[in-house]
């Protein structure tokens, strides 16, 4: 397959250097990190060094970083863990979340409300899907157990003023969680600069393997474990640690820290060119999300009277892998919840397209994409009418 991959927000290819780093931990240094013997000790050392290294880049202590199976699991643990711990400790019963959160946060918050009686407030956002600190402040309550606002939105790329929101929460002594799964590939994430108490990461968004994530938990924040059993991960997540994947995540994270400036300098101009061209070449097109305050690799659009789902299929057949907020493999698309929330009418919201670039994207890729895109959209629009 010679298709061009333009969906780096969905996942990224694992860096060769990451694969090399992981390799010995599958079959040579394969021990269980909890085992007493030297096979176990080798694995534990790898785990320990991975944790220290990642924590170091995050400005955290090693004991503040928990390895999980994914960004989604990290979000789940952050929400359920703090919600139940806060309720247990102080009777706090209120969750404040942004409506543009990843489903891992939104669905968890909904379950906490529906099954466990938590009171959930959704923070109003502006037309770009950005959460304003003022609206957070307005909605904070004395019984707020947790505030959750994502760093960068996956669908429309908008960045939120995390540090300001974090400061507001800190002033009130309320734990603040941020899903940084999308931003980790692009920015240094210092938990002290960002003023987060919890932060979710997923390795496969930054050229690491799938199936591994991390949750930063600031010292002093109480969590009730969701996965109970052994005392792995400081007792906050039972299950034998997946040493090879964790080693891979730490390696990938390190490479990001070293490279992200160069990567951004490469990607951003390509992305800017893409946005400008699409908006000028395609009639009835709009950029979704914030025009400037957005992920540097992220372009997202809506096209009026175009079936986004069909567009993705047509583009894929033409050799380009993109995605859409309304994409649905079963052929029964719903408009994106986020776009609906941002008051896009159905005729616009159904025609969304997300193009996300990565470190291996070339200007030739973008030129080729721009060459076929107008025709594809015209084709899709004609099929609809």
């Amino acid at each position: 397959m010679n298709n061009i991959y333009l969906d780096y927000a969905a996942t990224t290819p694992v860096d060769e250097r990451v694969i090399t780093a992981m390799q010995p931990y599958f079959n040579i240094r394969f021990g269980n990190p909890s085992s007493l013997h030297q096979f176990g000790q080798q694995a534990e050392t790898a785990l320990d060094l991975s944790r220290r290294e990642m924590a170091g880049y995050l400005g955290a202590m090693p004991s503040e970083l928990i390895f999980t199976s994914s960004g989604s699991e990290s979000d789940n643990l952050a929400l359920r863990g703090t919600a139940f711990a806060s309720r247990e400790k102080t009777g706090a019963n209120h969750l404040l979340v942004s409506p543009i959160e990843h489903p891992a946060v939104l669905a968890t918050a909904r379950q906490l409300a529906d099954l466990h009686g938590f009171d959930v407030t959704y923070i109003p956002v502006d037309e770009f899907g950005m959460v304003s600190p003022t609206m957070v402040q307005t909605n904070l309550r004395d019984d707020t157990a947790l505030v959750s606002v994502m760093h960068a939105n996956n669908e429309i790329g908008t960045l939120n003023p995390i540090a300001e929101i974090g400061q507001l929460c800190r002033d009130r002594g309320i734990p603040f969680h941020s899903d940084a799964v999308q931003s980790a590939a692009h920015f240094p994430l210092d938990v002290n600069d960002l003023k987060v108490d919890l932060m979710a990461l997923g390795a496969h968004k930054f050229y690491g393997p799938k199936g591994v994530g991390a949750l930063y938990v600031r010292s002093g924040i109480d969590l009730i474990p969701m996965l109970t059993g052994g005392s792995q991960e400081l007792g906050l997540r039972a299950a034998t640690q997946n040493t090879p994947l964790i080693v891979g995540m730490a390696k990938a994270f390190k490479l990001v820290q070293v490279d992200h400036n160069a990567r951004t300098n490469h990607i951003r101009p390509l992305r800017d060119h893409l946005i400008n061209q699409v908006l000028s070449l395609i009639p009835s097109s709009q950029l979704t999300g914030h025009p400037e305050t957005r992920l540097p690799n992220h372009a997202s659009f809506v096209f009026e009277d175009a079936d986004g789902n069909l567009l993705i299929s047509v583009l894929d057949a033409a050799g380009f892998a993109c995605s859409s907020g309304s994409a649905c493999k079963t052929g029964d698309p719903e408009p994106s919840l986020l776009l609906t929330h941002l008051n896009y009418s159905l005729s616009w919201a159904m025609g969304s397209l997300r193009v996300t670039l990565g470190k291996d994207t070339t200007s030739d890729d973008i030129d080729a994409f721009l060459e076929i895109l107008p025709g594809c959209i015209q084709q899709v629009r004609e099929l609809k009418s």
């Binding site: 007493l36 030297q38 000790q41 080798q42 534990e44 050392t45 320990d48 060094l49 220290r52 004991s63």
Partner: protein, 346 residues
């Protein structure tokens, strides 16, 4: 290993010298829910980390019962008898050497190495001598005077010829963390509070209020418990007096604290029991030596005469104010530690 800089650098040095190193941390008994400071979770994590960095195996060996029996019970008992025990001595002799040497042998080890600041020297007659560290500020021979010929023959002190600042520098060179375990005055096995709280909690009968007497046996006040005081202590007596009063003696039978002024305090003659002579045998004739009666006190010249049954009589050239039953008197000739014993109650 403690996770601290001394044992870590020791391990790195041994590794570099070609030894096949095994890291060991002892799990020691601790009061209540808190962990013993010597093996707290962060200390353990740090030691494991260092063993991982230096690529040698690391094990935690449980010595909680042995430590309780050999160190904690005699400590409580010592206070019950009115002395001021030094639990580190029993710990070194019975736990850190006897017990650990046996376990180390089972792991296939020939030697036990620690991060102590002291030296071992083999004489032409195949005897082992214990010498002070080259860094006299850090010298730890006082707490090592309990070692025998056999234990010394199996012991390596990799930091023997190094100063603390050199050790810190080496830690940097080996890229080891230079974290320092705080040198706390409190005992490692006492959780919250200090040893007095521990004693009160363990056995309230040990530390009961009683009279304070002057040297003429006249009651001049009341003390909250003998264990709160040590010989030479001036603070905490709560008696108004024209001149400063010092604890000069404890009378365990009457549960009385005897206080007096400075002249009552000094002594030149005392006895020590449970004496260990590093050479293995006591000297035939009285010897001239310098004597150290506390870990951090200076040495005082004197004459030591070996008596029957592992005891000695010690005659100092000048009086010392704080000769404290239960503490060790350790004997030196220049850099050589000859041995020592436990200061006897009157």
């Amino acid at each position: 290993m403690s996770g601290g800089v001394d044992s870590s650098v020791s391990a790195a040095l041994l590794k570099e010298q070609g030894y096949d190193v095994i890291g060991v941390m002892l799990r020691l008994w601790s009061d209540s829910d808190s962990q013993n400071r010597c093996c707290a979770p962060d200390a353990q994590a740090e030691a494991r980390h260092i063993a991982g960095l230096l690529e040698f195996p690391f094990y935690v060996i449980d010595a909680q019962d042995q430590f309780y029996q050999a160190v904690v019970l005699p400590f409580i008992d010592g206070y019950a008898q009115g002395i001021t025990p030094n639990p580190c001595l029993n710990c070194n002799r019975l736990i850190r050497w006897d017990f650990l040497l046996e376990r180390a042998a089972a792991l296939g080890a020939k030697y036990l190495a620690t991060g102590h600041y002291a030296r071992i020297q083999q004489t032409p007659t195949e005897h082992y001598q214990l010498l002070k560290s080259r860094d006299l500020q850090k010298d730890q021979s006082y707490v090592l005077h309990v070692l025998t010929q056999k234990s010394l023959s199996q012991t390596i002190f990799p930091l023997a010829n190094l100063s603390k600042s050199q050790v810190r520098k080496l830690a940097g060179e080996y890229s080891l963390p230079v974290a320092e375990r705080p040198d706390s005055q409190d005992l490692c096995f006492v959780g919250q509070g200090d040893y007095r709280d521990f004693l009160r909690k363990t056995d309230p009968s040990i530390n009961k209020p009683g009279p304070i007497l002057n040297p003429e046996s006249k009651i001049i006040g009341e003390h909250p418990g003998l264990a709160d005081f040590t010989i030479g202590q001036r603070k905490g007596l709560r008696i108004s007096s024209p001149e400063s009063l010092y604890v000069i003696r404890k009378d365990i039978d009457q549960n009385a604290l005897i206080v007096g002024n400075k002249e009552h305090l000094g002594r030149t003659e005392f006895f020590a029991d449970q004496v260990n002579w590093i050479a293995g045998v006591p000297p035939q004739d009285p010897i001239q030596a310098t004597i150290k009666i506390r870990y951090k006190s200076p040495e005082t010249p004197g004459t030591i005469t070996a008596l029957k049954g592992h005891s000695v009589q010690i005659q100092l050239e000048s009086p010392l104010p704080d000769i404290t039953p239960g503490q060790a008197a350790v004997f030196y000739q220049n850099d050589i530690c000859l041995g020592g014993g436990i200061i006897r109650s009157d």
